[in-house]
């Protein structure tokens, strides 16, 4: 699935990284615990989170994640956006809550990756 498809499915606003929307992602992870993301995510993934702070971007950076979706209408501040921009990470914001967002992407074929 491409980042653009994720954006369309979740009716998400593109916060930054418009030029990278054609990137392919192979799995998704929904979590507000960054240590869990660091422990379990393996493949090139998109991160869905209700947490808005710089460590979300840094965690994505360490895990080579292409895209972060902030759920529940959460919106990062300029410093977080700058951090993501410097690292070529796409930031999206959707009004849907975490459960619905994950469900919508799952329904369209995106999976959580190997356990």
């Amino acid at each position: 699935m491409t980042v653009r498809e994720i954006q369309e499915i979740l009716s998400a606003q593109v916060i930054c990284g418009e030029e990278f929307l054609d990137r392919e992602v192979f799995s998704a992870c929904g979590s507000d615990m960054m240590s869990d993301v660091l422990a379990y995510v393996k493949e090139q993934a998109v991160l869905l989170s209700g947490l808005v702070n710089p460590q979300v971007v840094r965690t994505a950076e360490m895990m080579d994640m292409q895209c972060i979706v902030f759920v529940r209408g959460k919106y990062p501040d300029d410093s977080i956006i700058g951090l993501a921009r410097d690292r070529d990470i796409v930031l999206l914001s959707t009004q849907y809550p975490m459960f619905a967002s994950c469900g919508m992407l799952y329904e369209k074929g995106l999976r959580g990756g190997a356990i």
Partner: protein
């Protein structure tokens, strides 16, 4: 003689900057052409350790030696020390305060994650003096 040595002073008062050193090490490793699995293992372990250093010890220092066949990391802090290392190594055990949990850490996965992603992990700790963590990631031939 190492291919490259890196040194970082990690500030202890600014959680938003935690991870800068790990991100910088990642950039170096990628530039040097290490395979993505090695890069990932090093940066996850180092990032968790760097976060720990900021959360629990008020910052510290990180030294990294990069060789073609292994990456060695030494993290030194002058924090309170770890009273029971065996307990701290258990998944889910955490002493992180609520403000740290609110930032997405403190799930008790830090040390287990570090062990999982490294080939060797040594912890020297003394109460009231500080902790030194030595990590090694081998590069497969």
């Amino acid at each position: 003689m190492s291919l490259i040595t890196l040194h970082y002073d990690v500030p202890g008062d600014d959680f938003t900057r935690a991870g800068e050193a790990s991100g910088n090490v990642k950039t170096h490793l990628k530039k040097l052409g290490f395979n993505p699995t090695v890069v990932r293992n090093v940066v996850i372990a180092l990032y968790e350790a760097e976060i720990n250093m900021v959360i629990h010890a008020g910052g510290g220092e990180i030294d990294v030696e990069i060789d073609p066949d292994q990456i060695r990391m030494v993290l030194t802090d002058h924090g309170p020390g770890i009273p029971d290392v065996e307990l701290a190594m258990q998944e889910g055990y955490s002493t992180a305060p609520d403000n740290v949990r609110a930032l997405g850490f403190g799930a008790g996965m830090g040390l287990p994650n570090i062990k999982k992603y490294t080939d060797d992990m040594q912890i020297e700790t003394e109460i009231g003096v500080g902790t030194t963590m030595r990590l090694r990631v081998d590069v497969p031939a």
